[in-house]
Amino acid sequence: MELIHLFPLLEIGDPGLRFLAAGFAMAAGGFAPAMAIGLLVGRAMEALGRNPEAQPVIQTNMILGIAFAEAIAIYALVVAVMIGFVF
């Protein structure tokens, strides 16, 4: 593969760049789900504080919502692992 020299340490086409890509994929893809889960759990805590008797219902639905939000982070993780270790 032809390497285009940019700086002494960075060359386009450098095979090590794919680890950079993997790290960046995970970082970019993990940010929004983390915020979403934080907001979700925060609102669930508020609801729990207002109505402690509804705890099973609130908790079940919170876990469900967290699963949806986390799935997006998992997609990013799968892509990162595939970039880093499979391709």
């Binding site: 699963a67 986390e70 799935a71 993780l77 595939m82 270790f85």
Partner: protein
Amino acid sequence: MRRFRGLAIGLAVLILVLAGFLFLRSPKPIIELKAETIFSIGPFNVTNTYITSWIVIIFISLFAYAATRRMSLVPRGIQNLFEAILEAIHNLVVNTAGEKHGRRFFPVIATIFLYVALCNWFGLLPFFATVGKVEEIDAHEAAFHEKGVVIQQKAGLNVIMPAADDVELPETVTLPDGKVEEVNANSSVEVKQLAIDEAKKEAGLSEDAKIGVLIPFLRSVNTDINGPLALAVWSAIFVEFWGISTYGFFRYGSKFFNFGRLLRGKIVDGVVDAFVGILEFVAEAARLISFTFRLFGNIFAGEILFLVVIFLAPLLFLDFVYVMELFIGAIQAFIFGMLTLVFGVIAVSAPHAESEGH
């Protein structure tokens, strides 16, 4: 002595971490996305995840058999445990789906829950990623790996022991006539053989030591994408089946093929309806993909985390990772079952009578 308790605990932690780091690290993890074939029956490849899934099924069957062998009205022993588990799942299902549909959904949801939870927990047993058959790095082999582990045999089985050495083949070799060749799967046999010899010499092994890649006999079921994919497909089939069996094929199908208003002449409303129907299809497909990748990603990432932590700092941090994996395995099983249940409830209770006249 009370004063020194904190100090003693801190010292013990430090000793454990250091001992693990210095003496018990495993070789560099070789992460394989595909499940490896152990043997083939005709055209069908039996992979290690397939074997594990059958072991889980047999385990559940034996558990159920033992629980229902001598049933008494007041449950004791294994029957009590089984009843407690099933009652918890039953309450969950009936609370979400209502009495009438809850009874119908319960077997599928309970199966999904138990099967996925046990699959995930089975993957945490000690002999899962470390005992297996060896694919030697051989110049004449068709499958050529670039790194390997020094293979040891314990009691006739190939095991990766802690503190095994890993061997990495050099990237390029210099042939006797001075040319420098790259070493990969397409190199010629002599180049590969040279690379293997060089790597063995560098690691200080004798000429006939075996290096290879270990293919475990057993592998956690959901680390292979086929496991979650199969479950997601069946979950989708069941959700559609429940919808169709409650409403009939055409009335349930009118959710997807909403051409009533278009055929009656109202163009704008009709096109919107048809578009919404197509979106419902896309939503179903997206659900299939998301079910698969949620379960696969969680469990596969857990496995990678294990391998990396064993490589970096075994003995203490591994315990925390283990607890987290237990928890995540159970939560993912719960989530898979609950999502199937919720989509089933939506399928049987959504108002399909939107078209006029019903």
